[in-house]
């Protein structure tokens, strides 16, 4: 480790009312004193205290400032830290940073604050990973999950699995080392049940990764339907803004329109597509192709129908092809009042959904009816975890890979036990599974892990 003092902005540049510049290193407080002028020198302050004052470049006043001082090792990085809270103007921040660099600080490299915190034993690897998630969290729920992981929820969860596994490994050790003691024999049924349990727990964790991904990156949602069934209106209902042009002329929406909305803690990236239908219009043709591509890559497909509409062959094909991620929406329930005929047709369509286990809801986007039910059906279909529950969510690909490797070994071990393989042999599988779990929690360190974790950090945290 070098002895440099680093500085960088630790709030998003350009936006927000306040910008915080963080300085960390042996000389952090001395350097801060060179730009900050208050009642007292920052050097004279105790750790964990703040002082109001001003920042200067030479004699030119740059901004008002609240400076907070942390002394080593009681800081985020474990080093001396000074934080300067300024008004958020981009120009001011740049100027202050420039001044700090002139006075002896160096720009922080990507992830360097967290890296130093890790080096100084303030955080462990999984916590470091979680900080990374907090930085990139797009909404509140993702943040909660990341916070929870930072507090060691994954480690706790893995520890219970690990202890079960250790119990088995210990039994094998005793079995090996006490040859003439009949009370040390191995009970295969117990081994099987513990392994099955571990298998289920790991499977759940791995599945949670997908959820974690949806939480972190948002749910890519595509709305498809025949022209003029109310795609844009639905989108507007969900987003509560006028985003698409809503008219009653078919084919108005030629391009994919995107908006991001937060629902129940998840971020939905919604695309309204050009109507998927045969067309001679060149402009629309391009729109249709794009729409189909979007459908394929989407996490969620909302297929929109009009009350009284009869399903076409193409509709059915599309529905069945993407059944796992599709929710059918029957819009314009307000039209039901127009006659029995319409209701009967709708019932036929509903029958098809029921027969094929396609989840569906009936709404009136125009009148803002059925939004809640729609969200609940979506949650069920995508098996979205209630982020308010204490469910642990694997946050990183690295963790998921380790869990998958462990699961694979446990499954092999189950097979081996069922085949009456001697315990010393399948013990190898259990040992290796344990090693992967230790890797997951950071208790076993390999070169690769440390590299990968810190490579992904961004400046300022």
């Amino acid at each position: 480790m070098d002895n440099t003092t680093i500085a960088a902005i630790s709030t998003p540049l350009g936006s927000g009312g306040i910008a915080v510049i963080r300085i960390s290193g042996e000389k952090a407080i001395d350097i801060a004193d060179k730009v900050f002028k208050g009642k007292k020198k920052l050097k004279e302050l105790k750790g964990y205290t703040a002082q109001f004052g001003h920042v200067y470049n030479k004699d030119i006043l740059l901004d008002e400032c609240v400076a907070t001082v942390f002394t080593a090792p009681h800081s985020f990085t474990g080093e001396n830290v000074a934080e300067l809270s300024l008004h958020g103007g981009e120009y001011v921040v740049k100027k202050v940073l420039e001044t700090l660099y002139k006075k002896g600080a160096v720009p922080a490299k990507a992830g360097e604050f967290s890296y130093r915190a890790f080096i100084n034993g303030k955080i462990d690897l999984t916590e470091a990973e979680s900080i990374m998630e907090i930085i990139s969290a797009k909404n509140e729920r993702a943040l909660t999950v990341a916070e929870r992981n930072k507090q060691g929820a994954i480690t706790k969860k893995i520890n219970t699995i690990k202890n079960d596994l250790l119990g088995l490994i210990a039994k094998i050790s005793v079995w090996c080392d006490y040859p003439d003691d009949e009370s040390m024999e191995i009970d295969e049924s117990e081994f099987l049940s513990v392994c099955e349990n571990i298998k289920n727990e790991l499977t759940r964790l791995i599945n949670s990764f997908n959820n974690g991904k949806l939480l972190k990156n948002g749910i890519n949602t595509v709305i498809v339907g025949k022209p003029n069934v109310g795609k844009s209106t639905l989108m507007n209902m969900l987003s509560k803004e006028d985003l698409s042009i809503v008219t009653s002329i078919p084919g108005t929406t030629r391009d994919v329109v995107e908006t991001t909305i937060n629902l129940n803690g998840y971020t939905f990236n919604i695309s309204d597509t050009a109507g998927i239908r045969e067309t001679e219009n060149e402009v629309e043709k391009i729109g249709v192709e794009r729409a189909l591509k979007r459908v394929k890559n989407a996490d969620l497909l909302l297929m929109l129908f009009e009350t009284g509409e009869i399903l076409t062959q193409e509709d059915a094909t599309l529905l069945l092809k993407y059944k796992e991620k599709t929710v059918a929406v029957i819009n314009k329930t307000d039209l039901e009042k127009n006659g029995k005929n319409i209701i009967e047709k709708t019932e036929k369509t509903e029958e098809f959904f029921k027969k094929n286990n396609v989840p569906y809801v009936k709404i009136s986007a125009k009148e803002n009816i059925g939004e809640e039910e729609l969200i609940s059906v979506i949650t069920k279909t995508l098996k979205l975890i209630d982020t308010d529950s204490s469910e642990v969510i694997l946050g990183s690909f690295r963790q998921k890979t380790a869990a998958e490797n462990a699961l694979n070994l446990i499954e092999n071990a189950i097979g081996a036990i069922k085949e009456n393989t001697p315990a010393d042999a399948y013990g190898v599988l259990l040992d290796e599974a344990l090693a992967y779990l230790l890797e997951l929690t950071g208790e076993r360190v390999t070169n690769e892990v440390a590299d990968r974790v810190f490579k992904d950090f961004c400046v300022g945290k």
């Binding site: 480790m1 002895n3 890790f118 080096i119 100084n120 034993g121 462990d124 690897l125 050790s173 005793v174 079995w175 090996c176 080392d177 006490y178 040859p179 003439d180 003691d181 085949e419 009456n420 393989t421 001697p422 315990a423 010393d424 042999a425 399948y426 013990g427 190898v428 599988l429 040992d431 290796e432 090693a435 950071g442 208790e443 076993r444 360190v445 390999t446 070169n447 892990v449 440390a450 590299d451």
Partner: protein, 623 residues
């Protein structure tokens, strides 16, 4: 007054199991060697179990043999009964154990030493050891005889400041009625070698005809015998049987009523006893819920009526011992010939040893056996062998030998001692190794004969025999891959009777053996060209085929571990200069001075975060 006798390459203090291997290795490697013992009638004595081997210990003995040591051959020559333990379990945990005629073993070992060129054995207590200006050592006997040696191996066992405890009685003394070495500790301390106290104990020896064997379980030796040594031509025979009986509620009551009279519980003994070889009073106190404890009755020799009571070591007063032995079924009238006792002794904290067993900051001085904090004859012999080899290499000015966790139980034993240290006498167990599927007792030769030959200890003819053996094995495994079995009624009947699926298409013998229900032997009738091989080889072939997938997997783990073992950090002299290490880690790393990241990661007190710091430090050094 002191008088000078002679110069030697290597001097060995002690002629127990460690001292013997050290002396023989050094002399056989061509070094002028002298071995000192307090009593020449007790060379290679077994003051505890009259047996060699056991789980993991049996592995050590085979490894000693593969390197060119003596213990395995001597055990085979003096075997009373031999068994492969864990035979019903997986091959990785098969382990040899033999009852040994202890007087014959001692006489035999003494004779081997007497007839080995370059080796002198001398009765005498070493009372001083001093480092000379030229880096050699002068050792002196109690009679004032001075010997100079380039290297010294300390293998003092339980003799160093030995103290015997039986109930309230205690006195200075070595094992089995010998006297203790009371003076040497002072000079060792003067060499800045920190000493501490450990304790161990042994049960009573009783008169055979006073035992009623009627209701006891009999334990026979193996029918198909595999000897300890690869080099033993004439297989040992089973001459005796052992017996099993159990303690009961009455035994427990007698012991608990008198527990305050045990020097362990009254506080007289300060030394720490072996956790995995506890005394009977320890077992009763620690495992309160256990109704009975197993005990084995083992003969001490062919020409003696003394029987050993395995599992019943004690330091309770003699009258209490008599009383609780009499509560046991079959021992109601037992006559004690030698009373059980505990012994406390000086030993080194092994964290002050290098993996070559050289004592840190004392070049040329080596430690082995109980002196290093271990327990057991086999553990002692294994270390004695490595210390002896390295003392000889050092005397010759050659590079020293280090075994690794990946190649042997010996390497594991030494790495554990030098890296993790020990808080009680260290006993080898299979669970100490993370690689027990690869470190099997049957393949010790393939793991270590090359090393034994290279250092100049394993004789050429033995090495060539090993190469031949290996070739035969490999040929047979290859042959089995070419033997194709077609679906046939007789074979399918057999398969179905054994509970496995009949064949639909052809399959190689090699593949079929892998099925859990089958093995090399069961398919013999369907293999016309099968060569006549020794039982030992067929066992090995069977294991290698059946465990192939698992062995491959573990070998991959070993390769992965070796990457960290190869990351050299021995050049780091002061860990306090590396920023980010926690204080405890700095202290431990500075004390132990690990060779590699792998070794550092096994030090207790060094956390994964510290290891990451070291890895990142190495990375930054590279850039």
């Amino acid at each position: 007054m002191d008088f000078f006798v002679d110069n030697y390459d290597v001097a060995v203090i002690g002629a127990g199991h460690a001292g013997i291997e050290a002396s023989l290795a050094s002399a056989r490697m061509g070094c002028k060697t002298i071995c000192f013992t307090i009593n020449l009638d007790w060379v290679g004595n077994m003051p505890c179990n009259p047996s060699i081997g056991g789980t993991a210990k049996g592995h050590l003995v085979r490894e000693i043999d593969a390197l060119g040591g003596e213990m395995a051959k001597a055990a085979d020559r003096n075997t009373l009964q031999i068994r492969m333990l864990n035979r019903g379990k997986g091959a990785a945990v098969h382990s040899l154990r033999a009852q040994i005629d202890r007087r014959n073993y001692s006489t035999d070992m003494k004779h081997v030493m007497e007839t080995t060129p370059n080796l002198s054995i001398k009765q005498g207590e070493i009372v001083s050891i001093k480092r000379e200006k030229d880096g050699t050592y002068n050792v002196a006997t109690a009679l004032g005889a001075l010997y100079n040696a380039k290297c010294v191996v300390i293998a003092t066992g339980t003799f160093l400041k030995g103290k015997i405890f039986v109930g309230e009685v205690n006195y200075e003394g070595g094992p089995d009625g010998t006297f203790a070495a009371t003076k040497l500790s002072k000079d060792l301390k003067a060499l800045n070698i920190p000493l501490r106290r450990f304790k161990t104990g042994t049960p009573a020896r009783v008169l055979k005809r006073s035992i009623d064997f009627t209701d006891m379980e009999v334990q026979e030796g193996d029918e198909n015998i595999i000897p300890f040594s690869y080099r033993t031509k004439e297989k040992p025979k089973n001459k005796v049987v052992c017996f099993i009986t159990y303690t009961n509620a009455k035994t427990k009551k007698v012991i608990l009523e008198n527990i305050n009279r045990s020097p362990l519980y009254s506080g007289l003994i300060e030394g720490v006893g072996p956790r995995y070889c506890p005394s009977i009073e320890d077992k009763i106190v620690r495992f309160k819920d256990k109704e009975r404890h197993q005990l084995f009755i083992e003969p001490c020799g062919e020409n003696t009526e003394e029987m050993y009571l395995q599992g019943m070591s004690s330091s309770l007063p003699e009258e209490v011992q008599t009383k609780f032995y009499h509560t046991i079924k079959g021992l109601e009238n037992v006559e004690i010939m030698r009373t059980a006792y505990a012994i406390e002794y000086d030993c080194i904290d092994p964290l002050y040893l290098n993996k070559t067993l050289e004592i840190k900051n004392n070049e040329g001085l080596f430690g082995a056996g109980q002196f290093n904090g271990s327990s057991g004859y086999e553990e002692a012999a294994a270390q004695g062998l490595i210390a002896g080899i390295n003392a000889a290499l050092k005397a010759k000015g050659k590079e020293l030998l280090t075994l690794s966790r990946e190649d042997s139980y010996i390497g594991t034993l030494i790495d554990d001692l030098c890296t993790k240290g020990c808080t009680d006498p260290y006993r080898m167990m299979t669970s100490r190794s993370e690689y027990r599927l690869v470190l099997r007792q049957d393949n010790a030769d393939e793991r270590l004969c090359d090393t034994g030959f290279k250092v100049g200890l394993l004789p050429k003819e033995d090495y060539e025999e090993y190469l031949k053996r290996k070739e035969i094995k490999e040929k047979e495994i290859e042959r089995l891959k070419t033997v194709i079995l077609a679906p046939d009624k007789k074979l399918n009947d057999l398969l179905e009777s054994l509970g496995t699926a009949p064949l639909n298409t052809g399959i190689t013998m090699h593949e079929l053996i892998k099925r859990p229900q089958l093995d090399y032997y069961k398919l013999k009738d369907f293999d016309k060209n099968r060569p006549e091989l020794s039982f030992e080889l067929t066992e090995k072939i069977n294991t290698e085929i059946k465990y192939e997938g698992y062995i491959k997997r573990q070998k991959a783990q070993i390769a992965e571990a070796k990457r960290l073992e190869k990351k050299d950090i021995s050049f780091i002299k002061n860990y306090s200069e590396i920023k980010g290490l926690r204080l405890e880690a700095v202290e431990k790393l500075n004390k132990i001075n690990p060779q590699s990241i792998g070794q550092a990661s096994r030090i207790s007190g060094v956390s994964p975060a510290d290891i990451s710091v070291l890895l990142i430090y190495l990375q930054s050094k590279k850039q």
